[in-house]
Symmetry: D2
Subunit: 327 residues, 4 copies
């Protein structure tokens, strides 16, 4: 463990997120400067198992920082969830003499990394890359800020027309378990309602507030719905609201647009910082940890301490927000 | 009729579209310079019937050219479809001594203007404002270019992630009868398929092409669907494609985001040009006409000649395009 | 002092920054909900001295969160730097029975607030609003993230063409004393050099690195220059680099575009959070403090503790960054 | 001449412009479908002379339509201005058995193509690719619309802050001989003045209008300056205006940002259309012509008829515009 790694492997896994390329670039350039070799595996664990790899150097990561997606490709991998699959992966890494594996991904991918640590004797370091911002051990995940901006752009556009028209607008954003995107974009977009899994609400109550706002003379009513708020998401909320209020409802489902786009500055900077530190952590012998940013400083958290660290919504904060939203 | 108008009324009607403000600004400033008074009616024909108006001057249209929507508000108006409704509107205009009414809107709004011409003795001039670009008498309608850019932005974002993943992406854009937005954004976005009302296609055939492309090694398959292509739009196409191909399908429904946003340059310039010429046409005594831009020149087309001028899709052009899309 | 304020005054001062409107909105809505009256002064201290005010309510701050600039206007005010000017301002506030004044602005504006605290017996609370991100007592200032994104957009565009051409590109960003924008945009934009006041560098050395990079086969070389790096800014650096290297240099001066634009999500959210807490701090009797965000939590810092808190650049961090930039 | 070409060469030359990639893609895919081989030369005539080429197929132009710049690279080439240089180029083409050469570029590049036609016996077809929109034989050049949008974005941002502040803003856009970008962006951006080479104006007169506008209570004054309006461009105009009016002036020089960026829809569509037709024209035996779009239809214009076709500014139109700008 105290021998310095000579070859670093890197892969991006799960739903891709903007800023992953900045991270790959920082990993590669820092590693090369520290005289390490860098191997990229394509399409996440799928490529790792298959040994589908590409050598990375300073030049191969040139001109990628501004690109959405990931130059390595990403995927979800059923096979890696099996002991056999992970064993194949360990074989590939042993044959390629990879000493440390850096995994950029979200919850599922880091869980995979954690399980893999048991079967493979090299170092494993996780880096939080997901638009959902739903991980413990870090204040921000790579890609969250870009997803926020994409969703915000849609709300701004809808408000332009909402001001001119008379109906309820619903915008569905990503977030099956975590309402971070919905919360951020609802505040920033000046939405009237934010419906998130963390704060269950009753459609009848929402409908009552809509009608009351209409009576008070509001010209528009925009509702941000996290996909995990209820089964059926925005479409279902629209159907029910329309039923109760007899108002016309229009839905916009942003879907995978939120995963794409040129990353905004904070995601590129975060990706760069975490990439630098992941390589340094590897050189320092770290393993079984995720690199994160907490309170502006880079930290390492053990995989086993990540679980259950889901952020909770502070009720006092939620109440203050709603004052502003619904005024 | 040969006396020059002294007061001009203006309203925006139907679905609002980006660039309407540039048009209102140009109308107002040109009219004021020509010593005319300008009255804006709020929320389209609804405000006209109700006499809900606002005086416009050079200052009141300052700093609006970059704003989405319309400062006058817009709406659809059932009452204006009746003789009684239009009679009320005529009364309002007579009482306010409005000599010429400028209506910025799409097909329905201009049909309304045409009917109104029979009941009111003032001048009526239409200006094509709709994102659909589905009118005769003009090559472009105000708002089309912005809608195109908004939809394009979504496709670009989806492609970033599509390149990293393995599924079919569907993007639903506006267009109940006309596929102009779908066509434009499909070409510009490099989509693999464009499904439009003008070119009925069979989902089975589409599915076959998808599977064939997958076999050829394509990493992504993006399908642009005009909402009017089939009942249920993109969601329905996704359901059926998924059934036939067993591939995962992800839909993005852009909805009203396409109506909003700061207008792009061509929509602002078009709105400005048409606004200037509408006022000049009014001064010249024109009535019962729509101002449009054909081959780069401003033209007047009589309302009765607009109908049935829907553009048709040239099959030879369509074939050439498909070569490029599906290669 | 322990009586709860009944009327709150608010103004934006100095160079305006995107997100100020989100802050004004949050202040107003929170205050109204807490049964306070809100008075806005126009054009900063100029309007305060002149008593140029406007009453603010929930409706008057509707639909402003997405707008750049500030609805109250802003300005620099020489008169407020004098005892007499500040005395006039105190009179205005006394006459209007304003109990607490909230000042949104940068270093100069908060210094003004600090001096004003001596002459006026009401509560004064500062809120950090400047694109420069150069204040103590807060990790971020309202507007910084938007300025970063604007500058980043320019670098991305230049790189597109830089890849195709052969010359040195210089981009001048704001920052007379602080290189925060330059640093952020240089990292995020993948620039080859970042020239900032905090890290004096020698043009000859820069030129040597440029020529060496050219020898190594780099296709482009982008240099971000903070305006305060040297007298003359980017234009002067370009002149000297061109002289030494005989390479063609092209400069882009972003200027005031960095102050404008619809605010990005982090600036809107920060503005909202700080606005809420500024009102609550006022209700709690705070005075002579600035509301800031440190490590994700809202904090209060006394005006006298703000001075000299300028952030310094960590040399180890700077060195790691340069590895990535110049590889 | 009546034998169909078997191999097509393509290059991008001069200042690159957004949309060139869409054109390369359409050329390649149409050609491949018609059973032609496609060879791309890198960095324009420089690569042609050096024989620096790359084979293009449907896959190699995949996922490039949204990218700024040109995947082939571009440059200006002194050597091609000599008979010897062009002779080398002709040799390269003969050796590679290229039957038709497609040149995407602006005025200088097409002049080069025209001269080359004398020395080489293959077919030569030009395609208008330049942000300047200053060519005869086409209503639009590939890249113009994107440059317009980039410049417009800057003006919109400046206006946000201009509304809050009190000074004269100058924005310098590209255009040495043609004011098309300045004109378009000035109209769309709602600038107060547009200074272009085609309409010489006196700084004293401009200064007088500024002061008069200030007296009338205007809050901002934005002046768009085409770089070719006068020696020194916006910086010089600012210096003189400041001298005469004693008002503070702030300049923004957009520079090469105008050449970059992901192309907007009209540039991608134009590039696609012209690319398709250039290949078809080649197949039909055309040579010595430029493919353009006039009144919405694709046309061919002989190189010798392009010269002197510079558009002139209609004084009546200019006058009407100025009414709107200065109101």
């Amino acid at each position: 463990m105290s021998t310095q790694p000579k070859t670093i492997g890197v892969l991006t896994s799960g739903g891709d997120s903007p800023g992953m390329n900045a991270c790959i670039r920082a990993i590669t350039r820092t590693a090369v400067f520290r005289d390490l070799c860098v191997v990229g595996y394509r399409f996440g664990y799928v490529g790792l198992i298959a040994g589908d790899s590409v050598a990375l150097n300073a030049r191969s990561v040139s001109n990628i920082i501004q690109r959405g997606g990931t130059i390595l490709g990403s995927s979800r991998c059923k096979e890696f969830e099996t002991v056999e699959g992970r064993e194949k992966a360990a074989d590939v890494l042993r044959r390629s003499k990879v000493d440390a594996l850096l995994v950029i991904g979200g919850e599922g991918s880091l869980n995979g990394a954690r399980e893999f640590a048991v079967q493979w004797d090299g170092q494993i370091i996780g880096i939080p890359g997901t638009i959902d911002n739903n991980l413990g051990g870090t204040d921000w995940t790579i890609g969250f800020f870009t997803a926020l901006e994409t969703a915000l752009d849609s709300i701004d556009k809808i408000r332009d027309t909402a001001e001119a028209f008379d109906r309820i607008f619903l915008v569905e954003v990503m977030g099956r378990l975590a309402g971070d995107i919905a919360l951020g974009v609802g505040i920033a977009g000046g939405a009237e309602e934010i419906l998130i899994p963390e704060a269950p609400d009753d459609i009848e109550t929402v409908a009552r507030r809509v009608l009351e706002a209409k009576r008070r003379g509001k010209l528009s009513y925009i509702i941000v719905v996290a996909e995990g708020f209820c089964k059926g998401g925005a479409m279902e909320v629209a159907r029910r609201l329309s039923e109760i209020t007899s108002l016309s409802c229009t839905s916009c489902v942003l879907g995978h647009t939120q995963r794409g786009g040129s990353p905004v500055a904070p995601d590129r900077i975060l990706g760069t910082h975490l990439g630098i530190h992941a390589v340094e952590a590897a050189i320092d012998g770290a393993t079984g940890v995720m690199v994160g940013e907490v309170n502006g400083a880079v930290t390492l958290t053990r995989f086993e301490d990540l679980a259950g660290r889901r952020r909770v919504l502070d009720p006092a904060y939620w109440q203050k927000l709603n004052v502003i939203l619904r005024s």
